[in-house]
């Protein structure tokens, strides 16, 4: 009966998800905005989300917090025309809100700590004002239904159906992959149920499990997800995953991080080459210049049995 309950939950979440989608026209506008143009560009947004990913990992926040933060961010910037210079404050604000909503098991870091670690330039009062604005504009609708919600449900369903131990889906891995996808604004346009299912199916393909495939197909039917949609998003997700797992490292092209060290350490960072000896090099096995000249000019008998 567990399975039936889960299927019901699935249906109700499906009905809800449309309420938490960022405005599509807003997202498209961002995608088409040029770098250094007016407004936030896709690259700018993606860079910010990557920062949120780093911070989430650093502070040990759950995937839930991250996914919610991204959802709040996308919804906000899709409805408001924001200036790029406020994006840092907005994104940190979303993360802070999300962490409090999720009721993180570990202590939610203070605003001060968040700002310090992320090396942002705004103040604590700036942040709390921004958070108020975000909450107002989003009508305090914070319990978003996201791709993670569906991922957890799909996972639970798969678990309740498979008797075969070998066909166990790794939820951590799926969550990590979802996080990677959310760093690209294109995936914010996808319906969370479809995005989650695409991830699921790719993983099932990798596992080559017939049982799991059947379950996934049943979910697809149940939720009435069109084949075209699925194919479209699976393609994009597949490409993203290839880049995510590629051995080539992605060099960050946005701002370089600041390395602040204490005065004592900074003083000792000088290279030893600053204290290069002022003694000229003495070549081995050869005479030095003046020596050879003296040799040439002198008529004396020289002792050639030198040892080196």
């Amino acid at each position: 009966m567990e399975a039936i309950k889960l299927m019901k939950e699935l249906k109700s979440n499906l009905d809800q998800e449309v309420h938490y989608l960022p405005k599509e026209t807003g997202l498209s506008l961002i995608e088409s905005t040029q770098e250094n143009g007016n407004g936030v560009s896709a690259k700018c947004r993606d860079a910010r989300v990557e920062d949120l990913w780093s911070l989430t990992s650093f502070f040990g926040y759950s995937t839930q917090t991250f996914v919610l933060a991204v959802n709040l961010l996308d919804r906000f910037i899709a409805m408001m025309k924001v200036q790029p210079r406020y994006l840092a404050c907005i994104s940190i604000g979303c993360l802070h809100i999300a962490a409090r909503v999720t009721k993180e098991e570990c202590k939610v870091s203070s605003s001060h700590e968040l700002i310090r670690i992320s090396q942002c330039k705004f103040t604590v009062s700036d942040l709390s004002r921004m958070e108020k604005i975000i909450l107002e504009k989003l009508n305090f609708q914070l319990k978003a239904v996201t791709a993670l919600t569906f991922l957890h449900l799909y996972h639970a369903i798969a678990l309740s159906h498979t008797s075969n131990r070998k066909d166990v889906l790794n939820l951590d891995k799926l969550e990590a992959q979802l996080k990677a996808c959310l760093c690209r604004i294109v995936f914010s346009k996808a319906k969370p149920s479809v995005l989650a299912l695409s991830l699921l199916m790719l993983e099932i393909e990798a596992l080559q499990s017939v049982d799991l495939l059947e379950i996934a197909q049943r979910i697809q039917t149940h939720l009435k997800i069109s084949k075209a949609d699925l194919v479209h998003w699976r393609g994009l997700v597949g490409q993203c995953m290839r880049e995510y797992s590629s051995p080539e490292c992605a060099k960050p092209d946005h701002k370089k991080l600041v390395w602040i060290v204490s005065r004592r350490t900074a003083q000792n960072l000088h290279s030893i080459y600053r204290s290069i000896p002022d003694l000229p090099t003495i070549p081995e096995d050869t005479w030095d210049e003046s020596e050879s000249q003296a040799l040439i000019s002198t008529e004396n008998h020289l002792d050639f049995s030198f040892s080196l």
Partner: protein, 471 residues
Amino acid sequence: SALAMSSAATTPPSVDKVDGFSRKSVRKAKQKRSQSSSQFRSQGKPIELTPLPLLKDVSAQEQPELFLKKLQQCCAVFDFMDTLSDLKMKEYKRSTLNELVDYVTVSRGYLTEQAYPEVVKMVSYNIFRTLPPSDSNEFDPEEDEPTLEASWPHLQLVYEFFIRFLESQEFQPSIAKKYIDQKFVLQLLELFDSEDPRERDYLKTVLHRIYGKFLGLRAFIRKQINNIFLRFVYETEHFNGVAELLEILGSIINGFALPLKAEHKQFLVKVLIPLHTVRSLSLFHAQLAYCIVQFLEKDPALTEPVIRGLLKFWPKTCSQKEVMFLGELEEILDVIEPTQFVKIQEPLFKQISKCVSSPHFQVAERALYYWNNEYIMSLIEENSNVILPIMFTSLYRISKEHWNPAIVALVYNVLKAFMEMNSTLFDELTSTYKSDRQREKKKEKEREELWKRLEDLELKRSLQSDGIIPT
């Protein structure tokens, strides 16, 4: 019978306590520069020198002989500890020496064969002496002011003169080598233990020139320096001239021919690496590190033994030294070849991983700063699948646990760099770490519950035996 307790009575010094540890430098702050000398006045009559005419005032033919006479006069050594004696004669010798310095610098055709032994004799008489004992038994070269040589007004000019003599265009090593021999060099090397840094600086130049010009003495000089260092490291841990000798060695290493001779490689491994273990490393570390890096630039294949040597001698209780080692290691990594890097990356990063978790914030900070080095970063990127697992646990742990907020901020930079370098591996490691932590917590909880049950059991038993509850 009572044991004779001969403990030196030490009055506890009144010290400032900084962080609970007394500061020697505060204790000795009032110390003024003291002087010493071992040239003492003999009991005989005062030294009388007949004033000679100036060299510029005699004809060119007479100059060589006058030159010799002046040299002979300068063999007379004066007592500078007695500040009132022989003032007139001291001044005369000083001005004579000055004159000789100028003469040797500008003149031509003055250097006859007879001059060589007289020059060497004069220099020997003046500089070769048993160095006076240190004023305090506990001379700490890192903290205390050195005792200076009282006869410096003359001594400096003698050194100056000798250097110009050696550098003179007319100087012929083939003649000089009869007088500047192994015995001379040996005595010269002993002087490097002088507490007076000015003297050591001159000695450094003198020995450098001698090494350059006398090929027949080079092996001997190297051997003697070898011995000095070995004695320093393994027997006395006392020698004031290590930095100066290392500077000379730097210029020698720089000139090594390739392929490097086995003797030189031995020196690196048996002498230079062990030099890192000495307590007073800070006095000569820059010069030592320079020598090491020069060796590696000559022969990159030596990188592995060098780094393994440093790791073997890694300081365990002295944080100041750890910071020095980290600095030197970074210089080595700056010039390392990628193939060499791969050979030592595992033991290397195991040590770095320990350093970043050090509770001493300077050590942690210095180690974390490696990630700000572009070249090192590129090497790490190429090998992130090996290095990341080694570093991960410490980094992640200290991001949560370290007491110093500046360190925590730096750790963020490093973790972020790793995340971007190899996201999949990073995520794997994070999830393994988290599940390990959960397992640990679970075990802890189980253990606590077990103890609680035991407690309850014990309580029940004691209550039963007291007859309070029925068995």
